[in-house]
Amino acid sequence: MYPEFTVHHLLHNAAERNPNKVAIVEGDAEYTYEDLARSTSALCAAFMEAGVQKGDRVGVYMEKSWEAVVAMLAASQAGAAFVNVNPLLKPPQVQYIAGDCDIRVLVGDSAKLDTLEPAMVGTAFYKGDEPSTSVAGSLRDVAEVLREGGDGHPERTVLETDLGTILYTSGSTGLPKGVATSQSNLVVGAQIVSTYLENTEDDRILSALPFSFDYGLNQLTTSIRVGATLILQHSRLPGDLLRGLRKHEATGLAGVPPLWALLLRSAKALEEQPLEHLRYITNSGGRIPQSNLEELRRLLPNTKIYLMYGLTEAFRSTYLPPEEIDRGTECIGKAIPNTEILVINKDGQEAAPGEVGELVHRGPTVAWGYWGKEEETRRAYRPHPFAPPELLIQEQVVYSGDLVQRDEKGYLYFVGREDNMIKTQGYRLSPEEVENLLVSTGVVREACAFGITDPDLGQQVVAVISLRDGDESSVDPVREYCVKNAPPYMVPKEIHVENELPKTPSGKIDRQTVRNAYADR
């Protein structure tokens, strides 16, 4: 057995314990832990051949797939950090990310690689037909690598204090920022979550969230840690989701609020034929509407429901145990194991019960800040406020920006956010990123984006713009540009045109006034 220090240690342990156990299911294909370990070694060797050094970043830009899983583990085994790029992102965001963290080796679907600029990376490993454009100086076919290699077992010395992955999230400067996450953050996250979800190798976990999302990645690491089976679910349309859960007799499912709204479309089918194998479900990425929660409890009477709260900056933070679910959907529970949650008031002191303060996370999942972004890192990652001053190497904690209060029994309740971040479809989206997108159309003079409450999405994105050419009033070209150049969750559901947007005395767009004017319509 390997000690659990790195993500690929988790894999090698599982492969040693039970090599013939099915690790990954994709469509009709099943892959055992032995297959996974061998394929990982094959791709790891090919990465090294392609010049991947320890500490390098390897990008993964593809639909959720067997190859994507192998690519992450192979990067880990090569001592590199994997960077999962959400497959919904469009070339402008992908190019930004590749430049931001200097991705030189990229694993991707050919159709996606074809959309990117020539010579964006040094080597591209493609899945599918050979890409027609020259996205990379050197091209390799993933299928061929996996078919031919894997007998050796290349391994570099990789420490838990090496960089494991970079998780990109929306940034308030209008561009994505990458949360640098260590091997230890990833492994400890898997240990903690698999402990309170009581995962075992008998679990069959349906993976319906993207790996680029910390919470989605966690199903993979958790599953591998306990030697369970992970089922890769592509479509989230109600019929496919229900078929996936039934066909594979899934025991666990993690979702964000819109996923439950989709599942509940199948209420009748669930009533007629309950999902008796489904041991638990977990929600994160936003508050689930009370009515949907009650409907889930009714339709899944034997399924444990865990409400979770997490920040990409610290992976996972709190969860509400299933037996406490009557506390309501505002309740985010208590700290996950081996973690302390502080509630800090305006005076920098621990808030009294009932007093509102900022949620501050302390523990081993605190990540390493935003890649290359000093100012933002200093704002979110700060020294532990109550550590003895004699401790000269300061422990870093995460200031979440989320306002919470704690009740007498220690349960935490979500109150709101200090900033303007939009929470939509499980994504945390900065209004500035939406506004940048709108202005980059070339026809928009000024833009203000914000979220308004939507029962299923959490919030939906609304934008108010003024146009450069005052005579033009159609938003069609703006919408068209956004759909082409941004992921769907970033495209405003409504775009309103005004002649001019209201300003604050300092000449900035007055968000509050704009938002108030539209929130009530």
Binding site: G239, D240, R243, K268, Q425, D476
Partner: protein, 84 residues
């Protein structure tokens, strides 16, 4: 029940997508709607509600799949099969 062919349904589906998602851009009939990021799952739910209303059909849970909703042509064929 009125009978609609797939060819009747195509412009209606395309029109809904333009109005609600893409703006003026016309999407080819065989373009992958979900995989290419035109439609989210929840937008697809809204589209289904529109289709049910517009064509007087009822899309069953198990029919609500990527196979049937992958392209404008596939959706139009589903509509045709339900109004025959």
């Amino acid at each position: 029940m009125a009978v609609y062919t797939a060819d009747d349904a195509v412009p209606e589906i395309r029109g809904w997508i333009q109005e609600n998602v893409t703006g003026s851009r016309e999407i080819p009939e065989d373009e992958l709607l979900i995989e290419k990021g035109y439609l989210t799952s929840l937008q697809t739910v809204e589209l289904v509600m529109f289709l049910e209303d517009r064509f007087g059909i009822n899309v069953e849970d198990e029919e609500f799949s990527e196979e049937n909703f992958g392209t404008i042509r596939a959706i139009a064929e589903l509509v045709e099969s339900k109004t025959e």
